[in-house]
Amino acid sequence: MCPLRLSSPSFRQPRFWARGSKPHIIRTIEGAVIVTAIFLLLVEVVVNGGLNSIIKNGLTPELPLFAVFTLGRMTIAYGLALAFALSYGIATAMSHRASHVLLPLLDIFQSVPVLGYLPIVFAIFLGSGPDANPFGLQIAAIILIFTAMAWSPTFGVIAGINAIPADIKEASRAYGLNGVRYLRQIVLPAVYPELIWTSILAWGSGWYLIPIEEYVPFRGSPISAGGLGSYIAQASRNSDIASALFGLIILVGIIYAIDQLVWRPLGVKAEKYKYESTAAPRTTATPRSGVSEGVRKAEDRIVAPVRTFYKSQRSIVTRALEVVRVTKLLHATERLKFPERISRIPFWGRLLSYAIFLGLVAFGLELLVAPRSESILNALTVLAANVTAFQLVGLTLFSLSRLVTAYLIALGWTLAAGILIARSQRFSRWLVPIFDIGQSIPATALFPLVVIILVDPFRNTPYLGVTLNFASIILLLTGMQWYLLFNIVGAVNSVPNDITEATKAYRVSGGRYMKQILIPAAFPAILIGSIQAWGGGWNALIVSEYIDPKANVPGLGSFLVEASNLPNVLLSSVEIFAALLAMTATVLAINRLVWRRLLRRADRYKFEA
């Protein structure tokens, strides 16, 4: 047997916790100011005299107004998404028959890369006249943000209703809670936490589109919808890196502030509405999560003066961890059930949902083609004459290879980071807030910067092809990595208390702990993160492959952009649709062939509720 691990008598002092707790809002503002200052400093160092070009930029005085425009669009789109999520979700969850069609349809909708909608929506709403319809431009922008926002809260509502325990349902029936009263007193509170957490994600996806939908190509020259995104896009078009960075800082500041002031408090409040699904009581020793307990333990070991310094930091980190855990884990178990539920849906339901989807596609095509007095049949012949199926497949494979590369890189580093965070409280203290800010930067807002750094200097050199592919992969990475990271961190942090204690009691540690406990425990979350990451990746694809006519890499994304720039409106429309369908088919195929299969296997790696 091993010798005992013994030590000299450990001394412990009583602890003094004079908690000087500042109001939440003050701490938030402090944080935002510090972050902004650091960024500003960077700007000054990196770009000498950058301040001048910001002042010279004629649009800078308009920034407050732009911020209001952007936020206004986001809010309206979110309101619409919320209404959609509640009605669609409640209909799906309450009516068994309706769910046979609504569930698979939702699954198809969310598989279509959001940016795929972009050319269609703009083509429809900007009108066929020589000038863009300004009202249509705003409507199109809002609809696009809506398409990015709508799906995940809908899943949230469905998951929330499904999570209502059977005894609660029976009790409310027994006490005559029916109809509207049942909806208000049982369903809405049950849905609330999921709705908040998925809304945080939805809001994030909305930001993602801001830099794109506010500055759209129209008949060769881009038009601006007026907003923070268009400010950044315009600045980078003029190679004004300082202004682009400045706009980015303001955008990130606003995103961060809204996260802190609106979503975090709501998320913390949402915990209250959660049904305790764990039958196993936690030990009285750990009233809070294992993570905050770990943070507390780590602090025990830090000597007194250092502790005083860290004291103010602690609660922020704990809260950050707490929110990361609740927001990103997204009821993993409920999500895991989803593919199972879909596979149990009768064939007619699935068939009908595909029919509805194709019908909507045809309707969209008709909307595009009809004003140009052409028929769909005619359009299809034009398409067949210009694009071969072989070409589409080849482009899809090019895009896929880049996605796979970016995915492998993302998986590698996020797994390492997740394990590091789980293993070391000190790392998590530093890394989590950094990641938190990092993920609030919409990947698309970084695109102009990557272009300025990686693409522009290499124009007219033989290296352009290499740097373009490199840039494309980096851009894909920014669209993919955060989903993986937060799912993995959430999973390794939510290993149940009793398991953690058992592994400690039986001295499972080091590499053995990693291999036997952490990675298997993270497996379902890795899958869910991967699905979300691929979703993000497909979205990023469209903007990452095409920078301008002279700088692009072959793939579905660049094909889509080139198609929307074609002078022949008819050909352009059908090409867009063909590319979109190819993309959706690929996404659906990968989901079914890869992720669903793995998800079914993930069952073993779930902790019992």
């Binding site: 091993c2 005992l4 691990r5 602890r15 908690r19 009581p281 020793a285």
Partner: protein, 266 residues
């Protein structure tokens, strides 16, 4: 350290002062909270000999925390725990733990869960499998080696937990409410079996510390019961149960002990 096994039956029935295995010295636990801190228990002092010791108390009095401190899973705010005279700071292979919620790894088989405890020891790999299989057999789970926890009933899961603890051949066995997640009938059977295992001289384990809030269970199983009161908890009684074994649940003397303990708690 451990006595020759022939002597064990005598030792087990009479708890006698000798060298204590565990010394719990001036232990207190304080949780810092928002604004004010919570003292869970304070000034806890007792020794554990080769005996079946139960710690009872109302919920929230820190019984489980105390057990975790004894194993080195948690650390006390003040004071220390000595095992064979040496301070405990980390879990030791000479102490086995059984958890209320079983704490089985869902993706490991029964065999894998039991082996887990042995992997941190110096026992050779093929020996580990043999030992694990033997203890799985001993707790009556032969044929279930390749089953996953999900496929087992609550009682069977706890049997895996017991096999895992015994496989270490620990000197001390710590049990945290081991029967309270089970239905009454299963719990009753398992209680009997744990007592049999403990009385069987084949097993090296001759010291058990069990935490429970079930006073009858404590009186039925223990040589000695330590009683904690409400938070901030202190030891309010230390009762030797001198009844003959095997005990009869309907023995009036059992009720006397129970009444005495319950009156101390409330």
């Amino acid at each position: 350290m451990s006595q020759p096994s022939e002597l064990l039956p005598d030792i087990k029935n009479v708890s006698r002062p000798g060298d204590p295995l565990l010394e719990i010295k001036d232990i207190s636990k304080v949780y810092p909270g928002e604004g004010k801190s919570t003292t869970v228990f304070d000034d806890i002092n007792f020794n554990v000999y080769k005996e079946f010791l139960c710690i009872v108390g109302p919920s929230g009095c820190g019984k489980s925390t105390l057990l975790r401190i004894i194993d080195g899973l948690d650390s006390p705010t003040t004071g220390q725990v000595l095992f064979h005279g040496q301070p405990v700071i980390a879990p030791s292979p000479k102490i086995g733990v059984i958890f209320q919620t079983f704490a089985l790894i869902p993706w490991k088989t029964v065999l894998g869960n039991v082996e887990m405890a042995l992997q941190a020891t110096t026992v050779p790999k093929d020996e580990q499998v043999k030992i694990a299989k033997k203890y799985i057999q001993d707790v009556g789970l032969e044929g279930f080696e390749t089953a996953y926890p999900k496929e087992l009933s609550g009682g069977m899961k706890q049997r895996v937990g017991i096999a895992r603890a015994l496989a270490l051949q620990p000197e001390v066995l710590l049990m945290d409410e081991p029967f309270s997640s089970l239905d009454a009938l299963t719990a009753e059977n398992l209680r009997q079996e744990v007592l049999e295992i403990w009385r069987d001289p084949v097993y090296a384990t001759n010291c058990v510390v069990m935490v429970t809030h079930n006073v009858q269970e404590a009186v039925y199983m223990a040589d000695r019961v330590i009683v904690l009161n409400h938070r901030p908890a202190k030891i309010v009684d230390d009762v030797q149960i001198t009844l003959e074994r095997p005990r009869n649940q309907r023995d009036p003397a059992m009720f006397d002990y129970s009444d005495r303990i319950i009156s101390k708690i409330s």
